[in-house]
Amino acid sequence: MTTAKPSSASAASAVWRQRALGWLSDYGPYIALAVLLVACAISSPSFRRPQNLINITRQISYSGIIAIGMTFVIIGGGIDLSVGSLLAFAGSVGIIAMNHCDNPALAVAVAIVVSIAVGASCGALNGALITVGKIPPFIVTLGTLSIFRSLTLYIANAGLLTSKHDLFARFGGAIILGIPLPAWLLLVLAIIGAIILQQTRLGRYICAVGSNERVARYAAINTNLIKFSTYVIAGFLAGISAVMLGGRLSSLSSTTAGLSYELDAIAAAIIGGTAMAGGRGSVIGTLAGALILGIVSNVLDMWGVSVNLQGTVKGVVIIIAVLIQRQR
């Protein structure tokens, strides 16, 4: 009996091809980021100015912080369309609360605590409707997207809510070691997020639930609690982002604050390698995804591309980034 061995040359090349693709898929977002950075720096002198790079870190930080939460939600098998509206709502309530305090330091503290508390509670509401109410996440958060925005308009009379304390603006605009505070926060939160995701039980369980909820339930994981927690995390981070954004402008527009941040956050997570179907993803990848989006948008301004066409470039970047990773 002759056993035809697969030609070893072709097998070896297949192995290499496979490895290369696997590698591309694992490190894809980082390679893309590096290539993009170099290309932009070469093509635009304004782009490579240190201050511009610092600006980019701040420009991405608000939706980037939200994208971290989105990463958890998506890995857990869900989606949260409400985070943008939630940012506006949490921030508005925070500003209203702070304006009731006369002591500036206290007022800022109140804004921080209230915004984050509102964010986390509204996230908990999403989570409860999804787990206890057994309604698909897309629907729940589509509903609360509308509800949170509408409540914001209502409490702000559809206008702008302005903080009466200058300290709030100084806080939101703070620069530490040359880097803006929100950018620091983004970095720190991303590191904490990465540790939670990779090194803790919660993170492992989130992956398990997103990968196959039934298996997770049979493995004695409280799947409802895990899913619930991802929405609380997302809401909590939306609250943090709201404080930073409100502090930056010392005010929030009830109509436009956070508008369509959810789409940017989802795009960042996906570009960063998180699987839309859940079960797999990385917070640092999301950070890279947010940077890619931010750099593209920045360099288009630097190149003077018509704003009308910027959406096309953004859309193409999203699709291509994912296309490259899917080749595995």
Binding site: R49, Q51, N157, A158, L160, T162, L249, S253, T255, M302
Partner: protein, 299 residues
């Protein structure tokens, strides 16, 4: 005007864009104000406020107002052409029509009430020219693309063209949005080493642009010109901010004025030849800023 209904119950419908940025937020606020004031003052009057996120929704909303038997419609159209048909229908049905701010394609209205958009653009341009003494590099941040925006930008460019010493570095849309203005300005500050003046055509955007400039620590820009007289900017003029020498009014209160005119029109208190009322674009400077400062308004 049409039928003189003094003693009758009058129902006024207001149809406006939803608060998609600060100024329209002001419009919504003033519309609610008009409702509150009129209904408190005159039991014979009922005001219905209706907002729409885009032109096609606004058509639906006008239909819904008409079903409710309105006697007058005070409308700030999203865009002229899409709303012309339904307004024509309303006028035919005998509804007293007051069009505010953005005009229709056909003059089917009883009264047209608007700010001076051309004057708005021209005023901005002239003050920039004056501040730069005729030479310098400027940036333009346009608004949400619509008629109002193009009238203003065209008028602005018209004036600038006559001053060859002034170079427009770039003209992009900031959508009348503070955050977008902030980001755009941050990027421009990196891109252009020398900027002499900025025209944002809107005070919301101006707030963002100012913030970016202040944070950059640069000192080259001589003036920022916005427009519409938002309370935040008027306050800074009042406080003597050297960067903001000037502003043009464009009061969102015009929607409430529209309601007043509609009621007068229905009651036959308006002269028949009063067809168009242009609220002049008033110039706000440090000297008269106090007259334009409404701390209780939301815009």
């Amino acid at each position: 005007g049409c039928g003189k209904k003094t003693s009758d119950q009058l129902t006024i419908g207001i149809s406006i864009p939803s608060a998609d940025h600060g100024w329209t937020g002001g419009v919504v606020w003033w519309a609610e104000q008009a409702k509150k004031n009129w209904e408190a003052k005159d039991p014979g009057i009922k005001v219905i406020v209706s907002t729409a996120k885009d032109a096609s929704e606004q058509v639906d909303k006008v239909e819904n107002l008409m079903v409710q038997g309105i006697d007058a419609l005070v409308i700030l159209p999203h865009d002229p052409s899409p709303l012309t048909g339904i307004c024509e229908q309303a006028a035919k049905a005998g509804v007293y029509l007051v069009v505010v701010d953005r005009g229709l394609d056909k003059p089917v209205q009883n009264l047209y009430l608007a700010g001076d958009n051309a004057g708005f653009g021209r005023g901005g341009a002239e003050s920039v020219v004056k501040a730069l003494a005729g030479t310098g590099k400027i940036l333009v941040m346009e608004g949400i693309p619509c008629t109002v925006n193009s009238i203003r930008v065209d008028a602005f460019n018209e004036v600038i063209k006559q001053h060859p010493g002034i170079e427009i570095l770039e003209s992009q849309s900031a959508y009348w949005d503070t955050e977008k203005g902030l980001k755009l300005m941050e990027n421009y500050l990196q891109k252009y080493p020398q900027i002499d003046a900025v025209w944002t055509g809107d005070d919301d955007v101006l707030l963002g642009a100012l913030k970016a400039y202040e944070e950059s620590g640069r000192k080259d820009i001589k003036c920022f010109v916005g427009g519409a007289g938002s309370k935040a900017i008027v306050k800074r003029i009042l406080d003597g901010d050297p960067l903001i020498p000037f502003n043009v009014t464009y009061p969102p209160k015009m929607i409430a004025d529209g309601v007043d005119y509609a009621i007068k029109g229905l009651r036959g208190e308006l002269a028949d030849d009063e067809k168009t009322i242009i609220i002049p674009a008033e110039i706000i400077t440090r000297d008269n800023a106090r007259d334009f400062y409404y701390p209780d308004s939301i815009f």
